[in-house]
Structure formats: structure tokens, C-alpha cells
Amino acid sequence: MTMLARFADSVFWLGRYVERAENLARILDVHGAFVRDPRGTSDWSVIVDLNSDAERFDKEYDRPTASNVLQFYVLDAANPNSIAACIRGARENARTLRHVISTEMWTHLNVFHAGVKDLKRKDVRIDSLTRTCNFIKDECQRQTGISLGTLYRDEAWRFWQIGRHLERADQTTRLLDMKYRQVALVEEQPGSPVDISQWNVLLRSAAGYYAFRRTRASRMTPSETARFMLLDHSFPRSIAYSVAKVEQELRDLVRFNGLDLGEEIPVKLAAAKATLETCPADRVDADWLQHFADDMQIKIADLALAIGKRFFGYED
């Protein structure tokens, strides 16, 4: 049973949008925590830079205040990178896929979408930010859980998994990148006590704190934390894990669904993996990480485009 190219595209984006919304909530929450730390920065422009949204943001808002940035990334549906826009996009794709996905996936997303539409300015004030971010995270995870439990394991499933993990890999580079930008802003030496507490927040925001402690009890250093989030094959939010997942699903598309990957996809996948291998074994410094994040994001975009051209009918 083959699948309409447009549906493959939609289900890929359904996975991406939900994952993106969840990660945006994580990023906003971790930054909020950072800001509440008296020794942290109160600069919210890092979030705008992180998503390369400066141009769009400056057009609509005068200054990158907490209120403006949160409005822009949570409520502002005109911003395609906002949580509101992601959930709307997810729902629109789900609507198209309504007869391909389970009723439970659709109903949850439909109700979730209504909940996000109901969010008000007061819900993104700094004192309610964690509650709102938790709401977004919970509902995104609920959507993912329902999908895991109900989505039929055909092509739709595999393209959903690919979309989700490509997005997660991309977002993890942003989360790491943000961390280093913040550190640079407070002008602390990486490795100082303040810095360690910031890394804690980062690990917690990626739900990796205890796993990290358990596996690297004596190595609580920024470099080790970065390597954990980049390379740990057992940590489900690491880039290595996400890329491996993409690779596996691509393989299964060939094995179980009879698709042919063509020439470009394997090349782009190999390039993404090669970039990952450039991670230093000793000190991970901010410059390297920033450069790596940019590079990795490009490699992920290239791979996504190759998949789109091969299976979704994207033009060159």
C-alpha cells in the first residue's frame, strides 16, 4: 500500500511541528529559569537570535523585552516559529491526514489546539511561564504518546518518526547553542559554580539530568554535558540518537515499504553523521559549539530537503 506523496509530506510535518512546539517550550522555560537566577542574564534577545528571527521580530516589536519575546514565541500565530503557529500547523496537517491517522491523535490535537488558542497574555508573564510551558510540553508529549500507541506502522509512521527526529536533532543544537550564548553574556568562566548550575537547568530542561548524573557521576563539566547531549546513544534527546533514529526509519522504508532512497538521501545522511563526529574528545568550547550548531542545522535541512524531493514531490 503506497502513500500519497502529499500525505507523506503532511505526516512528516505533523511530527516536526509537535516536536518543535515542545522544544520551544523547553527553550523558553530554561531561559525563564536562567533569567530568574539573580546571577543570570535578563536578555531575551538570545532566543530571537537562536531562531534567526531578528528581522521578523524587529518589524513587529520595538524591544526584545521578556513580554515581547514571549508574546512572539508563544501567542503570536503570525510568527511561523511560534508555539501557536506550530500547533496550528500540526492541526492543519492532521486535518489533511484525518483518515490516515487515528481518531485519538486527531481529537487530542484538536482539543490541544483550542487550548493554545485560548492562551492569554497573562499566561506568558514570567511568573506563569513555567506553568504554560509545562502545559505545552505535557500536551505535546501526550500527542506523541497517543501516536506511539495508535499510529499504524506503515509509511505514515516512518515519515512521522523521521520528521520528529530531524526536528529534535535540530532543536537540540539550538538548546546547546543558547546555553553557550548565555554564558558568554554573563561573562563567567565556563566551569565556574554559576555555570554548573546553568548546565543543570539545561539538562533538566531536556529531561536528561538524572541520566547524566547516573552515567557520569564524577564528570559534571560543561564539555561532558555537551557531549552527552550531542553523542550519547542512549539519551533520547541527543543528536546522535535522533540521527540514528532517522537512519533506522529510512532503512525500514526500504526494507518494509519497498521504497528506494535514491542517491542523494544516503549522501546527506552520511554528511550529518560526519559532522557529529567532529566533536572534540576534550574541551568543548563555545566557538566550536556555535560553529557546530550552525553546521549541523544546515546538514539537517539538506537531509530534509533530499527526503522531500525524493518522496514528497518537492521541486529542486
Binding site: 506523496a5 489533511t96 483518515h99 486527531w106 521504497l259 514528497f312
Partner: protein, 482 residues
Amino acid sequence: MTLKGVLSGYDPDGFFCEIASGDAARHAALAPLVKRLGQMSLRTLEKRAKAVEQELYNLGITFTLYQNGSSIDRILPFDVIPRVLSAQDWDKIERGSIQRVTALNAFLHDVYNDRKVIKDGVVPADLVEKNENYRKQMKGVELRHRNYVQVAGVDVVRGADGEFYVLEDNARTPSGVSYVVENRQLLRRTFPEFFDGIDVRPVLDYGIRLHDALVEIAPESVMDPTVVLLSPGAFNSAYFEHVFLAREMGVPLVQGEDLFVDEDDEVFMKTTMGPKPVHAIYRRINDDFLDPEVFRKDSMLGVPGLMRAYRKGTVAIANAVGTGVADDKAIYAYMPRIIKYYLDEDPILPNVQTNLCREKEGLKYTLDHLEELVVKPVGEAGGYGVVIGPRASKKELDKVRAQLKEDPKNYISQPMISLSVCPTLVDGAIDHRHVDLRPFVVTGRKSWVLPGGLSRVALTKGSLVVNSSQGGGSKDTWVLGG
């Protein structure tokens, strides 16, 4: 019938009531439901009705309105008190609907081939040839089983005399069937006790029946034909129904951009593995958008070359192209004669008496009795442009009088039917509201009628307009076992 409890104050006000009127046999069949309804408190009814409404939103059983650049999701209001048809009621509707579809198919085949019906003077030539829904591209095209109308919606009303009358035939893309099935599932979930021990005929197999019919009209040479549903897309107000039908049939829900026709006039859909052949299309877009090579050049919704493939017989399209010539309000007036002509039978379901303003006597009668009649434009759908004489102001009557004189061909008139009523939960009380009925007839090799159909209810007191665009809601429609 004695009405108790929550129904004790209910008064159908002289109209035929779908729950309380009829003969002894009908009363006996309805008694278990009436008893159960009577035992329910108004509070419970209201509470569960609210829950149903929320569920409709949650499930996204909505149609979308676009206003000032933003979109609003609306539900079709659902009334929780079912409308019930006895086995005898249904027998007549079922036979009558099939008879009409059989006659419509014979008429369409004749109109696009030999035109005997015109030569024999049964139907005037200009009604066919000048009909804007007549498609000359269909001349001489031979369809499997000579079947044009795979899905028909026959709109039926019940008068004060308890008789059913056909109000109009819908032979293009009648909608609403998704509500029939969804309403049943909603009611079963929220009021399971209504159904206890009552034999209500099932509606859940509609998708399977429709799929079977599409397979039966697909090109004969194809062993295992691929069926798709062609939709204009998520912005169409009936998109929920398209999704529903694709799901219930288990077929891809495609849009024009997903299909193409190759140089051998065969239709393909674009899949992740490349092109895959398509053999039958259940389309929910109008003729004029179907193929920009033949119809509207600006159509982005259709598939260039689709008519080439269709005429060559490599793909089946349901409903057939050009069925609109058979379902407008002028042809409707001739339906009793059309049935007699092709089937040599009297109509099982009578028409509402119709005055054709294109005919001199019809126009004169209409102008003389304007205050008593309902005047309808021939080509409109959805209740638009209808003037109800007894309810119209003097200004409205003057306006329609002028329109009738100016363009009599464009109008018909009918006596006002006292539509039957059904108890309905409105504003915290149970009151009578007018209802109609749209049974759905699915035809492949043979015809089948979904037991029930869409009961629409005019929620405004006294209103006879049941259209969803004008404040109508719907009810679950029960057909009781024999």
C-alpha cells in the same frame, strides 16, 4: 399517545408529530422510546446535550466559516431527541427513493443519447438543452450499468396528512451523510438507554456500500480497482464529510494536484513510489471545476485531461458528469411524468404539487395566489431566494411579483406544506420544531438506501427552513425494524 414526564407539556400544535402522531401500529412501535424519554429529567437531557456539543467540537465535526480573514469552526447543532420512522414509513420511502433514482438514471441516459423523452413530448427540449448543467461532452458516453447517479439525496417532507412528499432530488453531490453516521454514534454514547431493547436499523456500513458501488462502476477490465475521493481541500466547508467518507471507505482523500492524466488518457495519483493508477473517483467538486481543459479554465481544483480519460472509459467518476440536468426544480416538476414514461409506474412518493411559471397557467396561478404559495428560483440550492408567501411582507411579495413577470422561466411555486414536527430541546424546554428528511440512495449495480437519512430540524420557532446555512440543526434518524 399519552405523553408523560418531560414530554407532558408537549403539544405538536396540529402538525403531524414524528413521535406522537399516526395510527395504533405506529404508536405501539414508538411507545418504548416515548416512555424512556418521559422518564428522563430535563436537567439530564440538557446536561448530556451539552456534553454532546463539546464532543462535536473535540472531534472536529465542524464546518469552517471564513470571515474577515479569520476562520471560525462551527458545529451543526445536534438535537438529542431522535426522529423515528416506523418500518411501514420506511418501506414506502425506500421503495419510492429507489424508484426515483431508477427513473433519473433512465432519463439521464436518454437525454445524453437518444432523447426519446424529448421527441415523445414528455419533457420540453429547452429544459434540457438550455439547462446550464447540461454537459454536451456527455453525449454518447456509455457508462457502466447506465448508472449516472451513484449517490442521490431525495429530500422528503411529511405533510399534516402524514403522507411523505418529495421536495427535491439531489443528483449532483448531495452532502450530509456523515452527520447521519456521526449522529448515531454520538447518541449511542450519550443516551445508551434510548436504544435498550429497541431494534434500530444500523447505518454504520455506509462507507462499505459506497466503496462497493464505486468498485462496481470502475472499468470492467480492472481486477482490483483503486478508488479515491476527490475533494477541493481543507478549506471547503464540507471537508469534514470528505474526510469521513474517505476514512469509512478506506481510500485516499486526494486533491486535484495529487492526480494527473498521462498521454494514454489514464489517471494516476502521485505517491511516494511514483505514479499509481486510479480507476474510480468519488468526486466532491462540481462539474465546472473538474477539468480545466474542458470546463472552467481557471479551476485549480480539477485535473487537466480528466474528461479525456472519463470519455475513454479508463476511469469512472461518481456522480457522473452532467447529472445536474436532472435535479433542478424545473425538471422536478416533470418527475411524475418521467417515472411513468420510463418505468410505467405511478410515483410511490408523490411530488409536492408544483406550478411551473414557464407555463402560462402556472404563472397566472402563481401570481393570483402569491400570498399562499412558496416561490422558488429554479437553479438555487440551500434555500436561497425562496419566498414563503404566507410569511412574506408586502414589499417582499411585490419584489417577487416583479421578478416572476420579468423572468418567469426561472421560478416554480408550490403550496406551503405544513412540515411535520418533532419534539426538540430548545432553550431549556421541549417544544415542537419542523423537520425534513434526506434519505441517501447508493447505486452501483443495484440501488441501496441507507436506513434513516439526515433529519434536519428548523431550530427557530415556526420556521420551515431547515438548511444549515440558515439556522438548521440535525437529529439522529431511526428506522425501526419490522
